[in-house]
Symmetry: C2
């Protein structure tokens, strides 16, 4: 994916998003890795490419990351933790199941739109993680799934939603939101907020929410 | 993406799908390219990798394809043409807008599930095509979009559907179906037919189809 062509310099400009990565040099390398992986794919990127993008030497990279996979794991972990946090925050709010589901979709979509380069790496390079690291990430994904499923179950129990297949609908809702990372900025003429609002409405329809 | 790990040998087993690619050697190379691109990404794959997967010499590859991009373009064109054909067939059927939309989603999803390796290459490597080839593929995508939009517009006109944002809903419907290629076989316990049936129901809800 040509990140450059679309001017998708999200990771470098959005300086808050990798704030937990310290020191500075480690953060710059991580941001360079997101851009390189999104643009050329994990397997086509070398640690030399990443170091050079960050304006550093390959030797300097190894001070912070043992391997290229270390970088991917760090990106994937932070990305999945952020996605989960967004969903949990929405689930924990006061309000009806409709209000909480709407907020979950809205903020999850906004993140996938605004941070689509990171989201693409996180979503499409999952299989590039080695067997020893994948279980940790899969556990985070299951937790995201469970968070949304619980809101939907709450809505069904409260008589707000009509959902014949809760696991399948949960999967579809998350899938719809995740795919925003693929098409956003490529075919879209909408802001992250606009897509979030549209999708919240569509998801309430998917769960057969009673119009209140 | 590790195609091997999931045993996703779709292209090799589904011998009808590339029937239009002749002679045999050209088809074998195309199938090898789909597998290599899906597994390692376009940029990490060499023509030597592809030839070797097909049990051929690099020189033999160049008889059929000038460049690696030639292979990607051929895969992308055939994939997009097939996707468009599926949608057009459903749109042209007799029946109500609900019936036609349901059939479009069902068959489009079945294709993305059963042919998920091909679909991933077609969808995720779009930006790897050079500027001179991308317009042709973008035109096919616009036509797919227009085909679904027309069914939805028909439903609105007939009073069958209630859709405040037809272009946005069209985009979401196609996006939902396309993302099946990402998660299918990775997180799914359902057959392509089962996913197709679930999604047809969810999409009818998204367009506010009157329950008949």
């Amino acid at each position: 994916m040509s990140a450059e062509r679309h001017g998708q310099n999200e990771a470098a400009t959005d300086d808050m998003s990798w704030a937990e990565v310290t020191p500075d040099a480690a953060r710059r390398l991580l941001i360079a890795a997101v851009q390189a992986f999104a643009e050329r794919g994990y397997h086509a990127t070398t640690t030399r490419d990443i170091a050079s993008r960050a304006g550093m030497s390959p030797a300097a990279l190894y001070i912070h990351y043992r391997t290229k996979e270390d970088l991917l794991l760090r990106i994937s972990r932070i990305g999945h933790e952020k996605a989960l946090e967004i969903l949990k925050d929405a689930a924990a709010e006061e309000g009806t199941a409709s209000e909480r589901l709407s907020e979950a979709v809205r903020s999850f979509v906004r993140w996938h739109a605004a941070r689509h380069l990171t989201a693409r790496v996180v979503q499409y390079e999952l299989d590039s993680l080695g067997e020893e690291h994948r279980p940790e990430i899969v556990a985070l994904r299951r937790e995201s799934d469970a968070t949304v499923r619980e809101i939907i179950n709450d809505g069904v129990k409260a008589g707000e939603f009509d959902v014949p297949d809760v696991p399948g609908t949960t999967l579809a809702v998350l899938s719809l939101c995740i795919d925003v990372a693929r098409w956003f900025n490529t075919e879209g003429r909408r802001t992250p907020d606009e897509v979030g609002a549209l999708y919240a409405d569509l998801v309430l329809r998917m769960v057969g929410a009673r119009v209140s």
